[in-house]
């Protein structure tokens, strides 16, 4: 039939109308997309994409085999994750269950009643609650209520060093600040960058401030900041930490081009592995990263230790900074059967199967049974060190940029960048942070 031939030229006006419809269609369709509260038989789950997200995919697939309500897992590339999550929340495109860092990364959502309070589910099911290490569960809590279920390994910040370079220089792993400064001098004389720092990303710089503050003034100083007391930025320990950073930068401890070096494009880890730098302060993921990219270096040269103690520091030397773990949180728009399914999915993460999958991936799970599983880790020595470090820690301070709400963490990152590049003195840094 000719008249129904779709390719027959039509009158312009009809064509224009068709074009308008074609343009408007996606816009209209977007309004009705399947988000929270939109019903349907699926749950939209968002996860930060990295080496561990295959585990989440595996468990989603496993869950979908038996459940009536299917989960659709969306893996979001790391760098844009936080923007995407924050922008989507409160719109019909928000995820039903999503990955986060606990603390400040979700406190704004909690304030807006956007998350399901999971405390009753833990209360009703002691087995579920006892499956996790209590301090880790608490680290994700907001005002004493649980909004997150731990779903990844622990990520403490560790001082990695090159065992071979230290051996050649006749040095031991630095236990005190004097040891550390001696090592810096020695390596500088030998034309080796004492400490590699991926300053282009800025957050690696923050790790130095975090540990220096913790060792000097204890974890209480940042706890005060986290609880909204901006005057704690003026604490003498903070000034000391900032001054120490400036001294390190000026003395060339980080080399003279650290601001151009990035961590996210593997610039810093590769430089460290090439044997041209002696130390690298980084999250525990550095180990698996090196094992994947430079296996020879990881096996022969890579060693690790805790952050050194400071001469007049009052902080507990066992304290740790970093990310306790990552959490799943549930959007409060999820109700009824879908909420039941979501909770059932969350409970999978307390199972031994899940912990074992993390162990096999080289992570240390945050479940209470982790200690029994460590033996089966692909790198038991490092796993045991990490487990003990976290287990024995007097405190576990969440990374500052995750602990603080976005309105404070963004200017803080800018100020840290200015401190490390010499645009702010230690005193100016402290002053500008107090004004936030």
């Amino acid at each position: 039939m000719r008249s129904s031939d779709p390719w027959r030229p039509r009158r312009p006006r009809t064509l224009a109308a068709a074009a308008v419809l074609a343009l408007a269609a996606p816009t209209l369709a977007a309004c009705g997309s399947d988000g929270p509260g939109g019903g349907g038989d699926t749950l939209e789950v968002w996860v930060y994409q990295d080496g561990s997200s295959t585990i989440q995919q595996e468990f989603v697939d496993r869950f979908n085999e038996t459940s009536d309500i299917d989960i659709e897992l969306t893996q979001i590339p790391g760098e844009s994750y936080q923007d995407r999550m924050r922008t989507a929340m409160g719109t019909p495109n928000a995820p039903d269950v999503f990955f986060n860092w606990g603390g400040g990364s979700i406190s704004d959502f909690v304030a807006e009643d956007m998350l399901v309070d999971l405390t009753p589910y833990f209360d009703d099911d002691p087995e579920f609650q006892d499956a996790f290490i209590p301090t880790i569960l608490d680290a994700g809590a907001v005002e004493g209520r649980y909004y997150g279920v731990p779903m990844r390994g622990v990520q403490p910040v560790i001082l990695f060093y090159n065992r071979t370079l230290f051996g050649e220089a006749g040095l031991e792993a630095p236990a005190t600040w004097d040891d550390f400064l001696t090592a810096v001098d020695t390596f500088q004389r030998d034309d080796i960058t004492p400490v590699v720092l991926g300053g282009a990303d800025i957050w690696p710089n923050m790790m130095w401030l975090e540990y220096l503050l913790d060792r000097q003034g204890g974890s209480e100083v940042f706890d005060r900041i986290r609880n909204g007391d901006a005057s704690a930025w003026g604490d003498p320990a903070m000034l000391y930490a900032a001054e120490t950073v400036v001294e390190l930068v000026d003395s060339g401890a980080f080399g003279n081009d650290f601001r151009s070096v990035a961590t996210t494009n593997d610039g810093a880890p590769t430089f460290f592995a090439s044997g041209e730098a002696a130390m690298h302060l980084m999250g525990s993921w550095e180990y698996s990263n090196q094992l994947t990219n430079q296996p020879e270096f990881a096996e022969n040269d890579l060693a690790w230790t805790t952050f050194p103690t400071l001469p007049d520091g009052v902080g507990d030397p066992s304290s740790v900074v970093g990310n306790p773990t990552n959490y799943w949180s549930v959007n409060s728009q999820v109700e009824g059967e879908r909420l039941d399914a979501a909770v059932e999915f969350l409970k999978l993460h307390g199972d031994e199967d899940y912990a074992q999958a993390l162990i096999d991936n080289g992570d240390i799970p945050t479940t209470s049974n982790a200690v029994d599983l460590i033996g089966s880790s692909p790198n038991p020595e490092f796993a045991q060190f990490q487990y003990d470090m976290v287990e024995n820690a007097a405190s576990f301070t969440l990374s500052w940029d995750q602990a603080l709400p976005a309105s404070q963490s963004a200017p803080m990152i800018d100020a840290i960048d200015q401190l490390f590049s010499g645009q702010l003195s230690a005193q100016e840094f402290v002053d500008s942070m107090q004004e936030l």
């Binding site: 312009p12 006006r13 224009a16 109308a17 074009a19 308008v20 343009l23 408007a24 816009t27 923007d83 924050r86 922008t87 929340m89 409160g90 704004d108 959502f109 807006e112 956007m114 300053g199 282009a200 800025i202 080399g255 003279n256 081009d257 650290f258 601001r259 151009s260 070096v261 990035a262 494009n265 610039g267 590769t270 430089f271 090439s274 041209e276 976005a406 309105s407 963490s409 963004a410 200017p411 990152i413 800018d414 960048d417 200015q418 490390f420 590049s421 010499g422 645009q423 702010l424």
Partner: protein, 300 residues
């Protein structure tokens, strides 16, 4: 034979219906968002709760903010330097590419390549090149016996890097505009000039340049508005750093809006940027007499 009824469309003039898709597209994706941003600039909004009306707070803050002042200065500097460096280069390249030399087509195609890649991909590429340990920058520093290749780590170096990378990326585009402009100049002008004994240089200054006047305005407007709104290169290459050395207005807007989630203030920055960029392009068009559309070929 009866004349056609007035309902029939006039020859050569498409009906208004043809404009609808374009108008709707512009309304949905440009006009409406701009209106919303103007509204948001008078509110305090974190992207989650409802925006709360704060009157002129964001605008007075804009006026007093040192960060904004620094950003405006850097943006103006970047725009001025972009124009000063890119215009002579693209003008010469474009005029050259309009000629009929051997290999011209091949070389022009090569020059054109950077424009085909996305600016994010280019910025990532250049960041790798600038890596002080593994990038080309490290080798170059070695040749010149420099202590380090800390280009992105110094304030001026990072700014120069932004200027260079955006230039490298956009020079082909403006070259194309000048090539097109230069091709339009009638050959007879040059023939007449050579008969009168004018050399290449003289021909360039007395024929090519005046004939390209309108092309220069077009290219300048695109450069100025483009440089005021550079963003992706800064995001990938320097993240506004070191410190705030490359924190130009669009990046400050992004950082305020999507890192600090202070969307009200970010909207005020965005509005200011729209006003400044629009004013700049209008002024340019007006001051250069481009609106009068005077022909460059009077007497032809």
């Amino acid at each position: 034979m009866k004349p056609q009824t007035s309902k029939a469309p006039r020859a050569g003039r498409p009906g208004i219906a043809w404009a609808i898709p374009g108008v709707l597209f512009f309304a949905f994706f440009a006009a409406a968002p701009m209106g919303i941003v103007a509204y948001l600039s008078f509110t305090d909004w974190d992207g989650l709760s409802d925006p709360s009306w704060t009157g002129l707070d964001n605008w007075t803050r804009l006026w007093e903010d040192d960060g904004m002042r620094n950003a405006v200065w850097l943006s103006l500097l970047l725009t001025a330097l972009t124009w000063l460096t890119q215009t002579p280069i693209t003008l010469l390249l474009g005029v050259w590419a309009a000629g009929r030399q051997r290999n011209r087509a091949v070389l022009s195609a090569v020059f054109f390549l950077p424009l085909l890649a996305s600016s994010v991909a280019l910025a990532l590429l250049w960041r790798t090149i600038f890596d002080p340990n593994f990038g080309l920058a490290a080798d170059i520093a070695d040749w010149f016996d420099l202590e380090s290749a800390d280009l992105l780590g110094s304030s001026r170096g990072a700014f120069a890097a932004i200027l260079f990378v955006t230039g490298w990326q956009f020079i082909p585009f403006h070259m194309l505009i000048y090539q097109g402009g230069a091709r339009q100049i009638p050959r007879s002008f040059y023939d007449a000039a050579s008969i009168d004994g004018a050399g290449t240089v003289r021909q360039f200054f007395h024929i090519t340049l005046p004939q390209l006047r309108n092309t220069i305005v077009t290219s300048t407007v695109l450069m100025v508005v483009g440089a005021l709104t550079y963003f992706d290169t800064v995001l990938i290459l320097t993240r506004g750093g070191p410190g705030d050395a490359t924190e130009i207005v669009p990046y400050l807007m992004y950082d305020t809006g999507f890192a600090a989630f202070d969307l009200g203030y970010a909207s005020a920055i965005a509005c200011a940027l729209v006003v400044v960029a629009t004013t700049a392009s209008l002024l340019l068009v007006r001051l250069t007499g481009f609106t009068r559309m005077r022909s460059t070929r009077e007497g032809m």
